[in-house]
Structures are given as C-alpha cells and as structure tokens.
Symmetry: D2
Subunit: 289 residues, 4 copies
C-alpha cells in the first residue's frame, strides 16, 4: 500500500503494486542417475512506496521486473527447493530486503506434476509424463510477518451418484426439478493457510489433498455447498497445521439427456455436459478464535 501521495489538491495514487508474472522455471537435480524435476511457474508482486515512479516518473528506486526474473533463476540454482513453500519464502524475503522501497511481497508458485514413465514395471530414472492438476503456494510477507498458503488448481473430480439437489427454494422463475441422484462434477480449486511457516509442506500438501478427495467420496451430497463444508471441516479436523481453507467449486453441470422423445428411458445413464452457464459455489471454513 502506497501512502496517499498528493499530486493535485485532490487526486492521489492510493495503491500501487507491480511485479513479474509467468516466470517458467525447471530445475533438474541429480542423485546419481536418478533425476528429479521441479517444473514451476512463479509470479512476484511487490507492494511499497512507488510514488516517485508512478507519480513523478523517477525510476531510481524501482527494481526492474527483468531483474526479478533473473533473481528467480539465480536463487533457484543453490536453493534445495525442498518444497515450493520453502522456496517461495526465501524469494519473498529476498525481495523484501532488495527493493529499496518495498514493504510487502507476494510470491505465487504453481508446480506442474510429472510422473515417472514405467518401463517393465520400474519407474524410469529421467523420463516423465505430465500429470493432471496443479499444486500452488502463495507466500505473503510484510512488516507484520509471513503468511504461507498452499492450494490445488485445476483438478477435475466427479462422482456418478450419491449426489442430489432437493427441497430448495421455489419462486416464480424456478423451473428446475428436484434431483435425488445426479452426477456431481467440479474443477477443484482450494487454498488453505498454515498456522506456521515451519512445517513439512510436502507431506502436508499430499495429506490435505487426499483428505479432500476422500471426503468427496464418503457421503451423500445434498449440495455442492454441503460437500464444500464437509471437505473443509475434515481437513481442519485432521490437520492442526491448517488454520483455514477456502474452496471455489464450479458446478460442471451434467444434465440428463431427454430420450423420452424417442421412446427411450434414461435411467441416469446418458448425460450431456455443458460448459456454460455454470453454478459457482465458494466458501471458507476455519478455526474460530
């Protein structure tokens, strides 16, 4: 947050931030013949007093976004990147110290998963196929401290039964019938906040993801809303390191196709999938203070 900078009596720059986005970094580490791979997309965003540049055109205190890019690659060289959270914290602290007028830094890292190719039942040492979904870390640091968030992006999940939408509010424009058995499908986006900057982030991320998936399967879903809450509650109950969790769940509608017109029954077998419009269900579940 830039402190308000008077320019004319009444018009000010009330907020300014800038950074570099989409820095695509692959790091290969070798343990003998066995290679490991980190495939990352890094965004840096700086907050601070940048009014000299914005208001007066004076760049002398401005870190170039090209420098941010160089820095990410240079720091990656000697960083063990034991997790994207740990790497993100080191990047955040570096930029907080480096930018002359920087007061806050946000680092967002997306990691693309790669699975080893199986050859004769053995995992290959250096050949991979890309998996589905993405892992995300968001690190925010300012004078008040550091926040570590983790998340999941673009993971499609679906159940073919044990889901419905019934007894909802009806008024003049309501035409949707009750559904007692429908397909539930969504593109999972979740992000959660850790209680501490010192944790086993690798293990935790997998464990939170697994809990979300297991809870997705374990109940009759009366609504995306209720399934969202159940997934969040289960994560918090089983993970003391998680302070809160937020979900954004587009409802990827799978609608029964009307076959009765052709004298055929459709007993929850044939669905058409629509991309738009879609319901969007969001919510945050957290520990009360």
């Amino acid at each position: 947050m830039t402190s308000s900078t008077p320019t004319t009596p009444s018009i000010v720059l009330s907020h300014a931030n800038y950074g570099k986005s989409a820095v695509r970094l692959v790091k290969v580490t070798r343990d003998g013949d066995r290679h490991d791979l980190r495939d990352l997309n890094v965004d840096v965003m700086l907050d601070g007093d940048f009014s000299a540049s914005y208001v007066d055109g004076d760049n002398r205190a401005m870190l170039a976004t090209d420098t941010m890019r160089n820095t990410i690659y240079a720091l990656a060289k000697d960083d063990p990147i034991e997790s994207i959270e740990a790497f993100g914290m080191r990047l955040a602290q570096h930029f907080l110290k480096t930018g002359p007028t920087v007061t806050g830094v946000q680092i967002r890292i997306v990691e693309y998963p790669w699975n080893r190719i199986a050859v004769n039942g053995q995992e290959h040492e250096h050949a991979f196929t890309r998996g589905a979904g993405e892992r995300v870390a968001v690190i925010s640091v300012d004078a008040a401290g550091m926040t570590v968030q983790a998340g999941i992006d673009n993971l499609l999940i679906l159940k073919t039964t044990n889901s419905g939408w019934e007894d909802f509010y009806r008024e003049q424009y309501t035409t949707l019938p009750d559904a007692r058995d429908r397909i539930l499908a969504t593109v999972l986006t979740a992000d959660w906040t850790y209680t501490s900057a010192h944790a086993d982030f690798e293990r935790l991320w997998s464990s939170v993801r697994d809990q979300i998936l297991v809870t997705f399967t374990d109940h009759y879903s009366p609504s995306v809303q209720n399934t969202l809450f159940r997934m969040g509650k289960a994560v918090l109950e089983s993970h003391p390191d998680v302070q809160k969790i937020h979900f954004s769940l587009p409802n990827k509608h799978h609608l029964l196709f009307d076959l009765a017109r052709f004298g055929m029954e459709n007993d929850n077998q044939i669905f058409h999938v629509t991309n738009d419009p879609f319901g969007l269900i969001e919510g945050t579940v957290e520990r009360s203070q």
Copy 2:
C-alpha cells in the same frame, strides 16, 4: 458474509457465497427495420446466511443457480437495458429481495461490442461484425448501499515510440540495459467506480475510454507505472462522476531482435514479441477524501 456458525467447538463456516456464472444473453430490439443488439455475459454472486445449506444440508432457503439464470433472461425481456450498469442494478436489487437469506449481491456484466457492417458506405440495419475489447459493469449491493463500477477488458494498445525505461535501480542480478525508445504494449484492464448510481453510463463509459486512449498517446512514457498514473489522473480530472480508477497493465514485451550477429543494424525496426514472462503493473488513482 455468513455469521460464524459453530459446528464443532472450533470449526466454523466463516464466509460463503454462490451464484451463476457465464449466463450468455443476447437481446435484440427493433426500431422499425433497424435492430440493436446487446450481447452480454452475466455473472451473479450472492452473499448471505447460507449456513443451513453449507453446514446442515438444508436447501429450503437456497435460490437455485438455475433460477438465477431463468431470472436474468426473464428480467431482460421487459428491461430497456439502456446501459449494462442500469440492467445490473435492477438485477442486483431483484436478487437482494428474492433470496430469503441474501444480504448482498454482486452482478458482473461483460458486454461484447458489435459494429454494423458497412454496405456502400451505409451502416447495415441488422448485420454486424464483432469488435475488439469488452465493456464491463460490476454492481454491488448490500444493506450499506449500492456501488457501481465500470470497466474495460482485453483492449490491446500499443505505441511504437515515445516510451522508455531508464535510470532504474541496479543491483547484483540486474542485466537489463536502459531503453530510451521502445515499444510500449499492454492489454488494458481498467475498472472505475462512479460517485453515484444515477449517471449517463453510456456516455461516461465512452468518454472515460477515450480519455484513457488519448492520455496513452500524449506523453513520453518513462514507465508503464507513470503512464498508468497519468491515465488515471486524466480520467479523474475530466470526469467528476468517477471516484477512483484501477488499472492492471501487463507489459507485453517487444524486444529488439539481435541482428548485429548477421552484420545488420536494428534501428528500432525488428522486434520479437514474447508472451512470458511479463511484467504486471497495477495501481489505483482516486480523489482524496
């Protein structure tokens, strides 16, 4: 905002919102043989006390997102849609009244521009080509009142000279040379807030857009940052109806291609365009209180 709802002693639903996205609506109005067209993408998002549904699986107070979709089409029928801001306000007020436990509504409308096809120098009455860029309105309403925002999305702008990036901060990872004459290109995203819900939104939107474009052309740009501020300041100075304006400006880098390797000069003629990484410059300019 859902009031905190205890479920176990310590885990609560701290926020919940839901709605319908990507409702694609075209309305044709006829003035004799001359047709007008509104091509819209509408998102509805409701805030309120939805804990019965999220926490307990009780949908009785829940407006279905399918009902939201129906409502948008039904209200569009008799609405003059004299502007997307006006239509958005009426939608927002409708959903605030309709949802049994709704306390806040956000409507976001994107309008796609269509230009009349010219035939023998005359504008055709009912045939169109789609133009570039999009117009946006975001209406937020709750017990505290109504906010009306407008904006521009996906408008690419570029100037081939009168732009540079010099005398910036240099440290150990800085390699970028000074540039006194470069291409400046961005995908313009701007959103601004009106001081009132009663204004000539059609005229204002065009006027704000024109002012942004004119200011983009009228100065040597020492940085995207400074051009951002100048565009914001010019809009506020010439539009008393605008309270504040925010920009998000990705720097679409156009880099001089190194032709010296082939014994050729490159006097700011030949550029390669890169999609990633990109600088991202943001800021808000507003009237001080």
Copy 3:
C-alpha cells in the same frame, strides 16, 4: 515428401516435414513521424528428404528450426513487406534454396490488425489499438511452382434477422422445429487461392473481405450452407484473380429462451448463446476448368 526409405524390409518413413511455428515478429517502419506496423505470426514448414536425420540420426543436412527463426527476423529487416503474401513468397523461396535437401516449403503468416487511435478526430502517428479478426497468407512452393492463398480468421459476424432453417429432412431423431426468423452468427474462416503470384494483394484482400461481408447481408439465408455458397460465388464473380475459395463456418447457435413458462412472450428478442455443440458448415466454391 520423403521418398520411401527402407529400414527393415518392411517399415519406412513415408512422409516427413518439420519447421518453426509461432515466430512473433513486429516490424515498425517510419515515414517521418508517421509509423506503420506489421504484427505477424509466422510458421515455416519444410518438406524434403530428411531420412538421414529421421532414420539414421544424422543431422548434417538439417536446417535448425532456430535458424529458421533467425532468418525470418533477418529477412524482415530489409524486406519492404508490402504485403504478407509478398513477404511469404520471399521467405518460401529463401528456404527452398537454403535447406540442402528441401523440396517444398510452406509459409503461413497471420497478421493482427492495428487501428490508429483517434485524437481530436485525427489518426495518431504512432499509437494503436488492436482490431478484431486476423488476416492470413499461406504460400506453398515446390518444383511444380508456387501457390498463393489468402484468408480471414476469427472474424465474428452476426445478423439478427433474414435467416432461417426450414423444410429440412425429418426422421426418427429429429426434434428441431422449423425456424423462419433466427439469428445467424458465425466465426468466419475463409481462405482463397489466387490465380497468380503477381497481384495487388493488399487491395485484393480488403476487397474480398468486403464482398464476403456485403453478401452476408444481402439475402434471406435459408441455411448457413446457402449463404456460404452465395458468398463464394460473389467473390469469384467480382474477383477474377481468385481461383477458388473455401469457408469453414461454425454455427454459433443463438436459441430463443423459453419465456412462456413465466407467462411471457418471446418475439425473437431474448436469446441464449451456447458454445457447444455447434454445427460446422464447410465448402469450396471454384471456377470450373
């Protein structure tokens, strides 16, 4: 086309081609203070006898795709680029001569349109906004000669009336009612072949595009199919330099929203737009031999 290369008695490389795609080039030319801009995406694809590389791993006759990229930028420096067709022909001839075993070259160039920003009713000398749609040229050269194609991509066109779909074939799975007045909307993709490599390609391209748009408006359309043919016939009749023209026209369905459920009439006013599925109508119109 690689001549069949025996490797085992029975398995051969029957065709091979390779090249560089998505070379993004901007050229700025200055006429005093007035700047002109060519914003291009260039693809190169080479045909030839590449079996030494494919079959035997011997790269000695292989032009690197990185060299192709360099060449595009280097040739652009001194080329006037009076049209993308002319630039494409020179690129094609260059690669045909340069690659040691190259027997054919295809160059595809997409040009993105930029319009000058208006300031006080005057076109600005060096500031632009990007327009809609793209212009395309495809140049193919081999021992048999050169072919020059031009085209339009991604131009959305729509008419709000004077279009229908009636009296079509009906059988057991047909449920669609006749439509006498509907919205016709498509994303225009057209490509046409010139009779000669010597023509005024700038003027021709605009003239063909204008003819397509005018014909789109000038008749009652009983089908996308018939409108396709009419547009092609009109282009050929008015442009002796065009040998044939091909269209690919997705039918962007705009469906009447059912308002009768709410006691409302929908007199061709309120439409919902669907992205999928879509009809796809293609055809080629040409001069008979």
Copy 4:
C-alpha cells in the same frame, strides 16, 4: 465430395461437407455398485451431394445438425461402447444410411480419462479424478470401405537427459550451439491406422501408448526427428494390427538460463521454458506395400 454443380457457366461448388462438433456425452454404466464412465466429445462430419442446399437453398434432403446431436445421445443409450472405435463405427454406419444424399461420414471421438479415487488403498466405486492426455478415434466410411484410426492427444512427455542436437547444417543465419545434453519435452500427438475394423481396440490403444512411452525412454535422442522415427518403428514392429502411424511433436524448448553473468555455473540444472516460437516435427512411419 459433391460432384461439380454448374451454377453460372463457370462457378461451381467443388466440395461440401457439414456436421456437428463438440457433442459432449457422458455415459454411466453400472455393474452393481461399481460404476464405469465414458466421457466423450463427438464430432460428426458428412460428405455427400448437398448442392440442392448450398446452391439452391433447398433443405429437403439435409439432416439437421441438431438431429445428429440427438442421434449420438440416442444411439449411446443401447450401445455397449466397448471402445470408442466400436461406437464410432456404429455412428458412422448409421449416418451413412440415414442422410438421404450422404456418401461419406467421418466420426471423431475424444475420450477424457478418469481414474478412480483411492480410499484406504481401494479404488472407489463411483468417484473419479480426471487424468492427463486424451484418447482419440477417427472413423471414416464411404463406398470404398471403412478406415479406423486411433490416437493420443495432449500428453506431455519429457526427459531430463539422453537427448541432444548436434552436427546440424550451419549457414549464415545459424547461431544455435551444439547441444549434447538437453531436456527433450513435447506434447505428444500421435494417430495410427489399423489394418482391420475387427480388433481389440481397448488393449491395442494401451499397448501402442505404452510402446511409444518406452521407446521415448530407451535411447540417446540425437533429434526429435530420430526419436519420432524410432517410436513409429517400434510400434509397427510390435503391433501387426497397425498399418501406419503419424506423429506431430512440438519441441517445447527448455533453454539453459545464463547464470554466468552472476558468476554462477549452470550444469544442466536451471532451465527457462518458452512457449513460442516452437519447433514442430512431423512424420509418418508405415509398412511398405
């Protein structure tokens, strides 16, 4: 192919085809509590004599694309869909018989993979996550007979070593240095043609894919070109049911980041990934006649 239809003395419709694209179909089959899922995107394209419609605006022999959509859902109801190839063949034959003037049909089916969620080490009966990559089948039928093709789309593969690009052709615009150890990464698109319409397509598809992946890992790659040929040859040698196979392999360049500027070594550890431009390597390997 429409037979040439004279309209004026000299302008004819030389080819016409139309169909329905992006028909998104999910079929759920239940074996007790265990559910199976087919998630498909189906395209239909018809060839035939459609000149009455295109040239004369007479639709009486035209199957509506909406009817095609209905048909896909209706036929899916009773079809076992034991493979997408088998379902595609039945769709193709249906449309060949049904369209009054249809002489050829092409059906393209993309299948999205879904993996069962693991709960306590057990595969869940009805809950899934979407996997990476897609399976494709293309069925073509006309009076001359039926062709069955299968394929892979959008499968990202990468190896961190055992790949290079050396001793290639050098000329005036060549600047790329030799690489003896680089990352090789591509988005695999492959399509192959079966020798017969009667085969175990489920088993074959998995087996071909596995062979491609294994061959990708098993050699030092002197070029994408040579790896392409090796993968094709290995598939043909191990699969007598495959007549030919075609690959389209974009080279997703992973470039060593220059750390020497910062006094650091980069021993094949730190790479930046670029999206454009990209090399594109294609080829067909087949059994000689």
